[in-house]
């Protein structure tokens, strides 16, 4: 595949960025969820 480096790199960049965003969302959510009792959460 020509330009393989470019294309693989782009995919890696996209998944990396999405992954970082997802991880930060989860981590922030955990930090917040720890401070609010479950009875107040509408999804538990």
């Amino acid at each position: 595949m020509e330009d393989a480096g470019f294309i693989l790199g782009s995919y890696a960049l996209v998944f990396g960025a999405m992954g970082v965003y997802a991880w930060r969302a989860l981590r922030g959510g955990r930090r917040l969820a720890r401070q609010v009792p479950d009875r107040e959460k509408y999804w538990t």
């Binding site: 330009d3 470019f6 294309i7 995919y11 959510g29 917040l32 609010v36 009875r39 107040e40 999804w43």
Partner: protein, 289 residues
């Protein structure tokens, strides 16, 4: 002199959804015959549920599927060669971004035009816009990389790219408006108005930019149209991309909306705790009167 139980106070203000279910929980516990329960609060440290875990797994599988097809099975394009592989990411991200901003607009309307003004809609609007901005950023970056491969330049002032760039900045502005402070209802109302105005703006921006660029003879012969010569397998790869990013969007939206709910709940508790503390300070004076 009445004292105020911080938990009761919090329950009363901690958001629309929590109030109802919390009452039900207390009532159901009471019905089991043990009398009023001062139940130990559990603190499950996650915004996830079984549903989101399932969704998360599905997303990862779909992404893997996209990689396999996008980087592996799908053929190279006749004109773009291997660069077309970037489109299996680039096109879905912008479509899902549009979806996200439409969700923001609809949620904003649901908040603004209904009498109850439920904050849940505002939080969904905010979460969706945030995800939309991330997706547009990805669109722009991948688009630039694609442009580098096909046009030889990272940027072109064609209608689509220009509009996308303006879209990005517009919703950055929306997110900034969300952070202006004030009460949750104030934030919600402001953001809802701006969210709806943004949607009003978009067709105008699109129209003006399209008209503008259509008048200019493109200096290069290269086609700025992003649609490749669609071959069945390519179309399928694109479809896989759309599925994968849609799942990701839904998963992120659920988590972020819940996180925003938690932020608001903590805000409210902080306020209630402060009120309790202030009233406690006033107590000695009251007793003498």
């Amino acid at each position: 002199m009445t004292t105020i139980d911080p938990h009761e106070a919090a329950e009363g203000t901690a958001g629309d959804e929590a109030g109802g279910s919390a009452d039900q929980a207390v009532r159901s516990r009471g019905r089991s015959g043990a009398g009023p329960v001062v139940g130990a609060d559990t603190y499950d440290a996650t915004t996830g549920t079984r549903g989101t875990r399932l969704l998360g797994v599905a997303t990862i599988i779909a992404m893997a599927w996209l990689v396999v097809f996008g980087l592996g099975f799908s053929p190279e394009d006749r004109d773009q060669r291997e660069a077309v592989r970037l489109l299996y990411v680039h096109v879905p991200t912008i479509w899902i971004a549009y979806l996200a901003f439409i969700v923001t607009a609809v949620s904003s309307a649901m908040y603004l035009f209904r009498k109850e003004h439920r904050l849940g809609w505002d939080r969904l609007a905010g979460a969706s816009a945030e995800i939309g901005v991330v997706f547009v950023a990805v669109t722009l970056v991948v688009g630039s990389l694609w442009g580098r491969l096909t046009w030889g330049v990272f940027w072109q002032w064609d209608a689509r790219l220009t509009t996308t760039a303006l879209l990005f900045v517009t919703y950055i502005g929306y997110l900034a408006v969300r952070r202006l402070g004030g009460s949750h209802q104030q934030r919600a109302r402001r953001s809802a108005v701006i969210g709806l105005l943004a949607v009003l703006l978009l067709p105008l921006v699109h129209w003006s930019v399209r008209l503008w660029r259509s008048l200019h003879q493109e200096a290069t012969v290269l086609d700025t149209d992003l649609d490749p010569d669609i071959d069945g397998l390519m179309a399928f790869s694109l479809f896989v991309g759309v599925v994968a990013f849609t799942l990701l969007y839904v998963w992120l939206a659920l988590h972020r909306t819940r996180a925003l709910f938690l932020e608001d709940a903590l805000d409210d508790r902080g306020l209630d705790a402060a009120l309790v503390a202030r009233r406690a300070e006033a107590a000695p004076v009251g007793r003498d009167a």
